[in-house]
């Protein structure tokens, strides 16, 4: 059994526009030292998937910079490894429309898909943070002789959260009986898609060719919903930790959850034989000065902390000045918080500068966002 991974790096960019203005959703920074794609890539590598294609369409410079040759994920390989598939626009084509959906993305890389020789493919988005062994899903897929297996998680939904998720219903054998994409009036307990899909490579090739011939554009509506009665589509119920980052507020809430919930941290970061890899930056250890007070916070390496930090997530290379107070906030890479400044419920993007004594505050349901490189 061998498998290829296909990662969609831009799907759902629109969900968190603040953080994706200059980057793909795949390269959104998360949890002190990671980018979203690190979790998906690590899951694949830890499941012995070493042939990985990342489909992109725009803003992918930061992603290319992050991935580099792929060596930090053990994906710099002579055969296989990681391949970035930017949009393929032929010369003389006057139509530069880029794909919006996963099926459109797959159609656009049909050429690449047609050459996959592995038995199975694992399709994954980047905005679902979890630590999962794809081999378990593939084993379940094989055992149930499914044509397609979709990983789902049982959650409680409100109309607010339901409308940004895809809901699957299934019979007691796990066979898909219905699928609702982004329902606008749903609430209650349901199985939502983790946007991780497993199928045989031969079936994927068939789906893509079929979609091109019929001009189908949605994997959920045009493939799953149309064929679920005659094909064997299954759900795989994932039980572990997961965070679906479907909005800016969810980004904040899920980040803060890592601080509140030590089990969440453990099930994401401390799973035996399944570490999370990321780009190595060679930061020195972090220094906590005698004037610092740090409580219930996650801190990356390379920080210099002289002030107070509480319930916060501090990325690599951040400086927190003397008498500064940072509470309930997320401070991204290389940002500087000046002396005596005070932040509460603030998210600063990379390289932000908060000048001395500045006071900024958001609310926990609506954190205040400071964009990349901005000086306040």
């Amino acid at each position: 059994m061998s498998a290829t991974g296909i990662i969609f790096s831009n799907i759902h960019d629109n969900n968190i526009p603040e953080l994706t203005r200059m980057r793909t959703v795949a390269s959104v920074p998360f949890a002190c030292r990671y980018r979203f794609i690190d979790f998906t890539l690590s899951n694949m590598v830890n499941s012995n998937i070493y042939n990985i294609s990342v489909i992109t369409h725009n803003n992918y410079q930061s992603l290319m910079d992050h991935i580099g040759s792929g060596k930090d994920w053990d994906l710099a390989r002579r055969s296989g490894g990681i391949k970035i598939l930017p949009p393929y626009i032929t010369a003389f084509a006057n139509n530069a429309n880029l794909y919006q959906t996963r099926l459109q993305a797959l159609k656009s890389v049909n050429d690449s898909i047609s050459r996959i020789t592995d038995d199975y493919v694992v399709l994954s988005d980047c905005d679902v943070i979890c630590n999962v062994d794809f081999n378990d899903i593939i084993a379940y897929h094989q055992k149930s002789e499914a044509d397609m297996t979709i990983a789902v998680k049982t959650v409680d939904l409100t109309p607010e959260t339901a409308k940004i998720n895809t809901i699957f219903t299934s019979d007691e054998d796990g066979r898909v009986t219905d699928v609702l994409a982004y329902p606008t009036n749903f609430s209650g307990t349901a199985d939502i898609s983790l946007n991780i899909v497993v199928m045989k490579t031969s079936y994927l090739k068939q789906i893509v060719l079929d979609a091109i011939a019929h001009d189908h554009n949605s994997l959920t509506r045009d493939v799953i919903a149309r064929n679920m009665d005659r094909m064997n589509y299954r759900v795989y119920k994932y039980e572990g930790y997961f965070a679906c980052i479907s909005s800016f507020e969810e980004y904040y809430r899920n980040s803060m959850d890592l601080l509140r919930n030590s089990e969440a941290r453990a099930s994401l970061f401390s799973v035996k034989n399944r570490p999370v890899y990321t780009k190595v930056r060679n930061s020195s250890p972090s220094y906590y000065s005698p004037t610092s007070t740090v409580k219930n916070s996650m801190i990356a390496d390379g920080c210099y902390i002289e002030g107070t930090v509480e319930n916060s997530i501090i990325f690599r290379g951040v400086k927190i000045g003397r008498n500064a107070t940072v509470k309930n906030s997320i401070i991204m890479q290389d940002s500087i918080v000046g002396e005596g400044a005070s932040l509460d419920c603030v998210i600063t993007d990379k390289n932000a500068v908060i000048t001395d004594k500045r006071r900024l505050s958001g609310a926990d349901i609506q954190p205040y966002y400071i964009s990349k490189g901005k000086k306040i």
């Binding site: 949890a31 002190c32 030292r33 690590s42 060596k71 941290r265 994401l268 970061f269 401390s270 570490p275 999370v276 890899y277 990321t278 190595v280 060679n282 020195s284 250890p285 972090s286 220094y287 906590y288 000065s289 005698p290 610092s292 007070t293 740090v294 409580k295 219930n296 916070s297 996650m298 801190i299 990356a300 390496d301 390379g302 210099y304 930090v309 997530i313």
Partner: protein, 400 residues
């Protein structure tokens, strides 16, 4: 023949470092952990890369496993290269026989073939037991400028300290007139740092001659340097100023780690113009808990701190339970410290578990000395280790 390199660095990393006791029981001294996420060898290796020297031979002999594994293909230092890069050079058997490295000069002699593959003009000899940042390129420039046969890096030390070092007596132009090993009455305070640049051809000649001399102890300081000096070769000192520390003893290793701490540390690891590279592990971010108090300390990725940490250096993956107190100590990778344990003025080596309520070491002011706990040990709850004690598996067996 490989692509020509102007200068090849040879890093002597075979030393046992017996004065580090249990810390070098299972690894060579250059592989001893330092400063939270580094090993001693990261410093000369990073210096090489930052100085534009990309061909480095690492001569290993004593307990090389950890060192070999650590260096790997050299990727963390950008030394995985096509025409150059880092190579680990253990002693080997050849047609004419083979032997262990009998001295520093013999180690280089046995690897002349490696050096000659790059057809270098110069050879830089380094040792793997010092913590410092140095631009070897500047030293090479000085060497070329003087038209020297050999250049030796020296550091100004105090007159009292001078009798512990190899001392270079020079004229005004820094030309070396006399070399004295650990002189009782030093005539100068220029101490050799064990960093040499030789013109390759000349070095080769002296190494071959030295090898043929049955009375030689095959050592640079004892044989090669005095012989070249006696022959009237052009030998110059290169004055280095800045932080430099031999970490060959428990005391100096502890001090060098402490030099990394503070608002204005003596040795700044944060300097982005002279980065120290190291092999990274995939550890999660640090987590500082609700009841933790961290002060004047360096903490590394993967640490989970619920207790009190003061004036200490914690390497990656250290877990400190609630109520534990760590003071003036160095805790190496993946050590777990149980609830209410107290660690004072100590060094705890990697992967060791300290049981709850244990008391390790004594306060720094008590003059009892640094307590050292070896790697991969399991200390039962309530273990009491007095200050200055060296704890290894044998000690634990005896003091059950």
């Amino acid at each position: 023949m490989l692509k020509k390199q102007e200068c090849v660095a040879m890093l002597l990393a075979g030393g046992q470092g017996s004065r580090l006791y249990t810390l070098t029981e299972k690894t060579a001294k250059p592989a001893v952990r330092f400063g939270g996420k580094y090993r001693i060898i990261d410093f000369p290796l990073s210096n090489c890369v930052n100085s534009g020297i990309y061909t480095v031979g690492v001569l290993t002999q004593y307990q090389p496993l950890a060192l070999n594994e650590y260096i790997g293909n050299g990727e963390p230092w950008d030394l995985d290269r096509v025409n150059s890069g880092v190579r680990v050079l253990p002693p080997y058997q050849a047609k004419s026989g083979g032997d262990w490295y009998k001295g520093t000069a013999n180690a280089i002699y046995q690897n002349l073939e490696f050096i000659n593959r790059y057809d270098p003009d110069y050879v830089l000899i380094l040792s793997g037991d010092h913590i410092y940042k140095m631009d070897y390129e500047k030293m090479l420039e000085a060497h070329k400028e003087k038209g020297a046969d050999c250049t030796i890096a020296v550091l100004e030390v105090s007159l009292e300290e001078a009798s512990r070092f190899g001392i270079m007596n020079t004229d005004e132009d820094l030309r070396i007139t006399e070399f004295e090993e650990k002189p009782k009455q030093p005539k100068s305070t220029k101490a050799s740092m064990g960093i040499y640049i030789f013109n390759k051809d000349l070095l080769e000649k002296y190494l071959i001659d030295d090898e043929a001399d049955p009375n030689s102890s095959k050592d640079f300081g004892k044989n090669i340097i005095p012989k070249m000096l006696a022959d009237g070769r052009k030998m110059y000192a290169y004055a280095f100023s800045g932080y430099w520390k031999d970490v060959g003893t428990i005391q100096s290793l502890w001090e060098a780690n402490m030099d990394l701490i503070g608002d204005q540390p003596e040795f700044d690891l944060r300097d982005r113009d002279w980065r120290i590279f190291s092999r990274n592990y995939s550890d999660p971010p640090q987590y500082i808990g609700e009841y933790a108090k961290v002060s004047n300390s360096l903490i590394t990725e993967g640490c989970e701190i619920e207790g009190i940490v003061e004036n200490s250096v914690l390497a990656s993956g250290v877990k400190v339970a609630r109520g534990a107190i760590i003071k003036d100590s160095i805790i190496m990778r993946n050590v777990t410290i149980g609830e209410g344990a107290t660690i004072n003025y100590s060094i705890v080596d990697s992967e060791t578990k300290i049981g709850a309520g244990s008391i390790i070491g004594h306060t720094r002011s008590s003059n009892s000395g640094i307590a050292v706990v070896g790697s991969e040990l399991e200390l039962k709850p309530g273990t009491n280790i007095p200050g200055g004690e060296m704890v290894d598996a044998e000690w634990l067996e005896k003091n059950k």
